[in-house]
Amino acid sequence: MTKSRKEKLEANDIHVDFGGIKALNGVTLTLNAGDILGLIGPNGAGKTTMVNVLSGFQKPSPGTVHLDGHDVSALSARKMAQAGIGRSFQAARLFRGLTVLENLVVAGLGIGMTRKGATAQAREILNWIGYHHGHDRRCESLPYSDERRISIARALALQPSFALLDEPASGMNEHECERLMETIVNIPKHYGCGVMLIEHNMQVIMGVCHRIHVLDGGRSLAEGTPEQVKKDPNVLRAYLGDRSSRAGAVI
């Protein structure tokens, strides 16, 4: 059962307030099918909050989220997943007591597939990301980088129109990063969906993103192609001003 693909995910003027701390202060961004949009910014810029808003875990107030023109701001996380928004988590959040395969089957079941269909899809996705063996291993004993790849695979098992990936490269070595970049670049080509990528690793961001949106302190700082963003003075200032700057990588 393939769902109809959505074309555009828009977040309009998103404000999120956590008891006095404004995590997001009027951010607008758009994600198109087939695009890879990078979302970067210093720690605390509001990136994960943005993903939470787009995936239904956080309601913006004020602000709206539109999917192909329909207002989906009030949808629960589950409904958003079923509507075509898949996401991975910063902390992987795999179902540890379940096998690798079962993790993806659950997502397939979540969008209404049959058991057989969900299982076949799960194998196909796992093989596609290069995870050929160990489908029946329980997730509690997986190496860290495998966990992250499988959490991406699980998001893909939702047959999403948009896949929101929250720091998939964190903790990976160079070789693993390269493999990850290859996977991410191929997601739109193979699955036709749009990808939003939150990352601190500039190598990955610059290597795969078509466009980059920069956040700082809950506000949009800049948006453009990697080249444009690299040279934007506001961006440089935000990163140079940050002590854990990766200015070298940016420049």
């Binding site: 875990f57 589950r78 540890r96 089957v105 659950v106 969008i111 029946d136």
Partner: protein
């Protein structure tokens, strides 16, 4: 062969039980048979509780409610045709004046229990897991208060006596097998899988399109039916029904058995019930005392509960998953890799060849 492999987790539980019951039936004294029958009925209840608590990760303290509902319902239908109009005058006419045959009575009672679970689940499953646990306790207390005081219908705190006794050890075993099979089919089903996903991580489950509410409700209702089965069995094993038999002590005992055996797998429930039933029987006899020669040994009364609580705490501290650790009994020669099942010998041969550099 593959079918046996797939059914192994169930067969590994059912076949030893069959053998055990056969041995007890042939060689066991009447009292051992009684104790074993009671243990089997407890097993039915424990499996029922496991269907919900084990798969959802939410401990329900209220499942005795469904047990009691079914037990009383069966009593109303099958018991005391002479006395009912007097002792339970508040019953509706069709119950008070009639006696209903055993099997339909049992089935409707189980249905009532399941229905109660469904209705209460509609409300309770909206709550977060901790609130839900606490509210199931509230449910148990509500039932206890209502049934203890609604004397015209339940005889209040008094015991209803005179139910037909038809539960032998084989009847109990049959019911236990039915319960085990239902539990296994459920956990293998799509709903069981989604339920376990919510147990592992509620947030990720929602992000994967799973409904916490519906999967919990389904599990809760199903487990209510099985608990109801246990209730009917209790009633027609003891021949009596009393509300005090469906309250905190019994709840604690079953929860202890599940925790010790391992709440997250069916094998854990069965192993827990079996082992602890044996243990408490041993302790009970020790409390009554042994005579060896002219000496009398007895452990102090109340040690049984103490030791049980102690073991439970130790398990929680040192082996949180219980004895089975959340695993089922798997086909032992299965090497699980790749979805392709490879016999152990062949795997070793392959690895050896690799190591030796042989093609």
């Amino acid at each position: 062969m593959r079918h046996i492999q797939r059914l192994f987790p169930v067969l590994a539980l059912v076949i030893p039980l069959l053998i055990l019951v056969f041995v007890i039936d042939q060689f066991g004294s009447a009292s051992i048979q009684r104790v074993s029958t009671e243990a089997l009925i407890r097993l039915v209840f424990a499996v029922g509780l496991y269907i919900f608590a084990g798969n959802s990760g939410i401990v329900s303290f209220g499942h005795m409610t469904f047990c009691a509902v079914a037990a009383y319902a069966s009593a109303w239908q099958t018991c005391c045709s002479m006395l009912k109009p007097i002792t339970m005058s508040g019953l509706p006419g069709f119950l008070r004046d009639n006696t209903i045959p055993l099997i339909p009575a049992g089935l409707t009672s189980i249905g009532l229990a399941g229905g109660t679970a469904f209705l209460s689940g509609l409300i309770l499953m909206r709550l977060s897991s901790l609130s839900a646990s606490i509210s199931t306790l509230a449910l148990l207390f509500i039932l206890n208060v209502v049934y203890s005081n609604w004397s015209s219908v339940t005889m209040g705190n008094s015991t209803i006596v005179g139910l037909p006794v038809y539960v032998t050890i084989w009847v109990a075993l049959a019911a236990a097998i039915v319960a085990i099979v239902i539990a296994y089919l459920y956990q293998k089903s799509r709903w069981g899988l989604m339920m376990r996903a919510t147990r592992e991580d509620e947030v990720a489950a929602q992000a994967s399109g799973t409904s916490l509410y519906w999967s919990r409700l389904i599990a809760f209702t199903l487990s209510g039916f099985v608990a109801g089965l246990a209730g009917v069995l209790f009633a027609h094993f003891m021949g009596t029904v009393s509300i005090s038999n469906f309250f905190l002590n019994q709840t604690f005992l079953i929860v202890a058995m599940l925790v010790i055996g391992g709440m997250q797998s069916l094998a854990g429930a069965v192993v827990g019930v079996t082992l602890i039933s044996v243990l408490i029987e041993v302790l009970r006899r020790a409390e009554m005392g042994y005579s060896i020669g002219t000496m009398d040994f007895a452990i102090p009364r109340g040690s049984q509960e103490l030791i049980l609580a102690g073991i439970m705490l130790l398990i929680l501290m040192f082996r949180k998953g219980g004895i089975m650790g959340g695993r089922e009994f798997r086909w032992p020669w299965l090497v699980e890799d790749d979805g392709v099942r490879e016999p152990e010998l062949a795997k070793r041969a392959r690895l050896l060849k690799m190591r030796l550099g042989v093609r």
